[in-house]
Symmetry: C2
Subunit: 373 residues, 2 copies
Amino acid sequence: MNALLQRLQIDLPLFQGPMTGSDTPQLAAAVSQAGGLGFLGCGMRSPQAMREVAAAVRAATAKPFGMNLFVLEQPTPDAATVQAAIDRLAPLYADLGLPPPEAPARWCEDFHAQFEALLEARPAVASFTFGILTAAQVARLQAVGSTVIGTATTLAEAQAWAAVGADAVCASGMEAGGHRGTFLTPTQPGATGAAPSLADFAASMVGTLPLVAQCAQALSIPVIAAGGIMDGRGIAGALALGAQAVQMGTAFLNCSESAIGPAYREALAHAQATDTRTTRIFSGRPARGIVNRMMQALQADESTVPPYPVQNALTGALRRAAAQAGQADCLSLWAGQGVAQVRPMPAAQLVALLAQEWQQATAPRSTSTIGHQ
Amino acid sequence: MNALLQRLQIDLPLFQGPMTGSDTPQLAAAVSQAGGLGFLGCGMRSPQAMREVAAAVRAATAKPFGMNLFVLEQPTPDAATVQAAIDRLAPLYADLGLPPPEAPARWCEDFHAQFEALLEARPAVASFTFGILTAAQVARLQAVGSTVIGTATTLAEAQAWAAVGADAVCASGMEAGGHRGTFLTPTQPGATGAAPSLADFAASMVGTLPLVAQCAQALSIPVIAAGGIMDGRGIAGALALGAQAVQMGTAFLNCSESAIGPAYREALAHAQATDTRTTRIFSGRPARGIVNRMMQALQADESTVPPYPVQNALTGALRRAAAQAGQADCLSLWAGQGVAQVRPMPAAQLVALLAQEWQQATAPRSTSTIGHQ
């Protein structure tokens, strides 16, 4: 048992990836109860909703779990930008018999209120993406007993998290489903605090294998590997690269306990690795999902849609309506490059299967390697 | 020792990646002599040059080695396409004091003549990229004793190679340096024999980790992992994913025996993972290299430059002149996402170091894993 598992008091080096909008307290509790670490993606949850889901996990299991937030300030887009984005989306809304979207009263949850709710919830693990905390924020979480994990898409981002005192880093390779966590600007040297450009997001599309190997070599804190890991081979591979645990989102997306609807499940059941792409047209931040009609229809707007969370808010009603109508065409079908290996089953069963596969992938390999040497 | 190493009679699960234009018989011989499998990238070598380099390796070592070819037909671009490409390049030629390039008598070596030279050379391994052989071609190579390895960037390509009787598949993740080997068309279902479009190349940018795991699970023939592997961790990780060997190109690029010049070596010494990008502006086929002035200057032509090998031939004189002038700005600085871990040293020393690191990465990991279970 490595340092990270000892610290977290969990049996398996296996985190269920936070999936805002798709995860549930039932999913997180099932994974934690089975020996992994369940996660609640709270990026789009209100402080009150955060309290409720944390309580729901605790009612179902006494095991540790994690909560994840987006590090995000409330944006102030100008009216013309918003109207142009609305005009681009109006035809898709009309296709579903809906009026064009309206600018909401606020574009996203208030991060600072979410952060206070997180301190109050005191999850075993508090993880973050889209940005970085200050050292003081990290210390506050640690003071209430939470292990702080930052998401990194590059070695520089991992080093930045280590520098503010994070306890571990989740190295998220470009294979991962959903939003890219990129927050630094490798193509703009010296542009401290600037938002990543499209070129920065492109530069930060590093594969899980080299990213994990580099982070494990360079950092003194534990590394969690994420992106494309779907089975026992993937777990064994990531640990051999130097990770102390893996984080798997897409693998758990089609579990019985996830919140996704039938159209999304159907899409997951038929997708291949070559069917996913990163796009910012759904939300304004590059995210990997299965190609569908909406992604293709709006691809020309890739560089012009307003940044997250503005575009995300403006497409929200459309995606919810499409989900209710069972139309996968207008859903954001977030999924990673391991999507072909998705296995629909209860989460506890999947965790048990993964543990068994991991043992199989490790045992014979070690023998033959040692024998060979 | 696994089936692939037994078949090839080599000690280490470690291939030096073929690097057309950068590898040398000295490099291949050093790797083979040290227990790995050296490779000669022969895509741009004439049949006579192929004979010479194979003889040079054999003069230096009795160990097995590999030769790689591009599966490629002579193109017949129309004059207007060629002239437009020349016009776009003329300013860059002028910057180096050179006249615009001229259309060459032929655009690439004759594959069929190269294939006959390969049969004559009878290397232990004959590997292929950019396309696929017929079952009859595979059988001819096997009849002279060569193990046939096809390059695949997707599971479907790996299955296609297995279907024509290849002995093994090199699963080449999107992290890999140099040209993408993509030859199928995942976004054009049913378009048999069509050339991959830009969308097909984009769809086929699968990371090494999920690609290797998927291929190892689906195929009954051995899988060799390529893309982003630079050290012992990477080797251990790839083998745990199910590969029987790794292929490392970028790792050997800065070895004493490689053919690259000082400007290229200097660029390798300072590049990070976020400094590489895939581009088709140098050659007409997407290839990963370090971003430089020429890549940025021509990026707007990404979708319009003529396909490989036409653009490759038209930029050849420019890149050679830049190399001679020591100007990295106009070179194609092929490198993978592991570039930050490049270690300049003699190849034999690097192979020994990799073997040692691999042993270290494997031994403690197995113990802790088994102990934990």
